[in-house]
């Protein structure tokens, strides 16, 4: 029983990280329909930022975190301006910005790889090892509550929803489409960055950490559905629980347990691509 409780906490913490990445995808998909794979690399950038400000310069955790997140806002905004806006204005198909963002993914990864030594770099915990998981869960809960409230209660949030439902109508109603897009990318980058920062004390900052996170986050998104903010978190939790419970309890050799998230992704894509939660009508 003790195992299960410990595992539940661990899976919840991992699920929160996946959920944050999924939220980052969601923030960008909803108003624009663009799937941005670079979220994994953004998480990585934030992790390296954590190394720079927290390990190297040893700033106070909250201050370091604040600087990194502010930086991520800029990164997201810049990415959108370079890779997305010119294409959207030209009126290209949705595919084009998605592919352009793949280019951004690779470029980001290489820039980090050039700027830092190749070995994994340590990022410190804000509290001790034992409490890191609760910290992750706590921060994620705050973030999700914040975004839920944003979309449900505020005017800005509702304009996001309007754009998501019908771009043209939203534009006709006077909503500034490019501003919404810019904010969604900046926000997405910050959320992904937060996820990277929270998970990096565990896995260290290294330049290959982006792609697995991007895939895990996307799987969480597919499971939870793109329609609602809560879906991202639920998807993340389900994925993490499935992964960890399988490793712990399933009587299959652990080598095959790695296949579980991949299998989940394929099954959900084929059977229920819209995810578990439906968008509000």
């Amino acid at each position: 029983m003790r195992d299960f409780l410990e595992l539940a906490v661990s899976a919840t913490a991992s699920g929160c990280v996946y959920g944050l990445i999924a939220l980052a995808y969601l923030l960008m998909i909803r108003p624009t329909g663009i799937i941005n794979f670079a979220v994994g690399e953004w998480a990585m950038v934030a992790a390296f930022g954590g190394y720079v400000f927290l390990t190297k310069y040893e700033l106070h955790y909250l201050l370091g975190m604040g600087i990194v997140l502010a930086f991520m806002l800029v990164v997201g905004w810049v990415s959108e301006r370079i890779a997305v806006r010119p294409l959207v204005e030209k009126g290209t198909a949705i595919l084009a910005p998605i592919l352009a963002l793949l280019g951004v993914l690779v470029i980001t990864r290489e820039i980090i790889s050039i700027s830092f030594p190749p070995d994994p770099l340590p990022v410190p915990y804000p509290f001790e090892l034992q409490h890191q998981k609760y910290f992750i869960i706590g921060v994620t809960a705050v973030v999700f509550l914040g975004f839920w409230a944003f979309f449900e209660k505020t005017l800005w949030g509702k304009s996001f929803e309007a754009v998501a439902l019908n771009r043209r109508a939203a534009a006709l109603m006077g909503i500034n489409l490019s501003r919404v897009t810019a904010f969604s990318f900046a926000g997405g980058a910050a959320v992904a960055g937060l996820g990277g920062l929270l998970v990096s004390p565990n896995i260290s900052a290294h330049y290959l950490m982006g792609v697995p996170l991007a895939i895990q986050g996307f799987t969480a998104l597919v499971i939870g559905g793109v329609g609602r903010v809560e879906g991202a978190l639920i998807g993340g939790l389900l994925l993490a629980f499935a992964e960890q419970l399988t490793i712990r309890y399933a009587p299959i050799p652990s080598g095959f347990a790695q296949g579980v998230p991949l299998l989940f992704l394929m099954i959900f894509l084929i059977v229920r691509p819209t995810g578990l939660l439906r968008a509000r009508a």
């Binding site: 370079i82 290209t92 084009a96 793949l102 990864r109 050039i114 080598g255 299998l263 894509l269 691509p273």
Partner: protein, 301 residues
């Protein structure tokens, strides 16, 4: 005719290159083969998939396992290898026809990763993490195909692949594919079976990738899991986009350029040529979506 001349020219080149350059040449030809098939799937039929390298691997491993572990004669091994690719492709394609754009890409991404997991866990059958080595192409009619002669075989397979793709492209099937790519609803309205078109395109190109894989198995005479990993799948996509998707010449140019680029750039930027790829890709999409072949068209006018 032109095909014969092309074959002679490309194959003869192999006899003039040293061992090392021959090796580079062969690998380049294989990449062109993969890019042509991928271009048909992506550029002409509009489907993004990351499983191309998985099928490359399935072809390579199948033929090696069939020939050396099950002792199947070569012609049968080739046919069975193709059959395996077709079966797996159908198994993935048929359920996926309901998926749009990037969702298919994700499913194939998962497939590619699963493939590597299976290879690693495959124990004695796949050689596990070390792969399979220590084999040679069996003599065909008593003639041992080595060196430049084997390169000629690769050229032959490449030209055959190109011929198949061009024929498909110019047929009604090619038109159906383009229609599905540009506007699936309109295509359906015109009476095209969208799902069937997508499945056939995916299966044919994956089978061709498998054939390329079979050819590859005898280039280095080793197959191991790292070769068929995910980074190459991204590279293939970049090649087709930079070269110009939708055009065979574009795919070929993209493959040749991005394959040779690291060799030229090495002295300058060391190993960070991937950065250059990313920049090229971004530049292609932003500035010249028709790719290099689009530039060529413009200037040759």
């Amino acid at each position: 005719m032109r095909w014969l001349a092309a074959f002679v020219a490309l194959a003869a080149a192999a006899f003039f290159l040293g061992d090392y350059h021959n090796d580079v040449y062969r690998k380049m030809l294989l990449w062109v083969m993969l890019a042509l098939g991928y271009n048909f799937l992506f550029g002409i039929c509009g489907q993004i998939a990351f499983s191309h390298f998985a099928f490359y691997g399935i072809g390579a491993y199948s033929v090696v396992i069939l020939l050396f572990q099950l002792n199947v004669p070569l012609p049968l091994a080739i046919l069975l290898g193709v059959a395996v690719c077709v079966v797996v492709a159908l198994a993935v394609a048929i359920p996926s026809t309901r998926l749009e754009g990037f969702y298919l890409a994700l499913a194939t991404l998962a497939l590619a990763q699963l493939f590597v997991v299976v290879l690693n866990e495959g124990g004695a059958v796949t050689g596990g993490t070390g792969g399979i080595a220590n084999y040679r192409l069996p003599p065909i009619f008593g003639f041992q195909l080595r060196g430049p002669w084997y390169t000629a075989v690769i050229v032959f397979v490449l030209l055959m692949t190109l011929w198949i793709l061009i024929k498909l492209d110019r047929s009604w099937f090619g038109r159906a594919c383009r229609a599905v790519r540009d506007n699936p609803e309109a295509a359906a309205a015109m009476g095209i079976d969208v799902a069937r078109t997508k499945v056939i395109a995916f299966t044919v190109t994956s089978a061709l990738a498998g054939v390329a894989g079979m050819t590859y198995a005898f280039v280095d005479n080793t197959v191991n899991p790292p070769i068929f990993g995910l980074d190459n799948a991204f590279l293939l996509l970049f090649m087709v986009i930079v070269g110009g998707s939708g055009r065979h010449a574009g795919a070929a140019i993209g493959a040749v350029l991005l394959f040779l680029l690291p060799f030229w750039l090495s002295p300058l930027v060391g190993h960070h040529h991937v950065l250059v790829f990313g920049v090229l890709m971004l530049a292609a999409i932003l500035l010249q979506p028709k790719g290099l072949i689009g530039l060529w068209d413009r200037y040759s006018r």
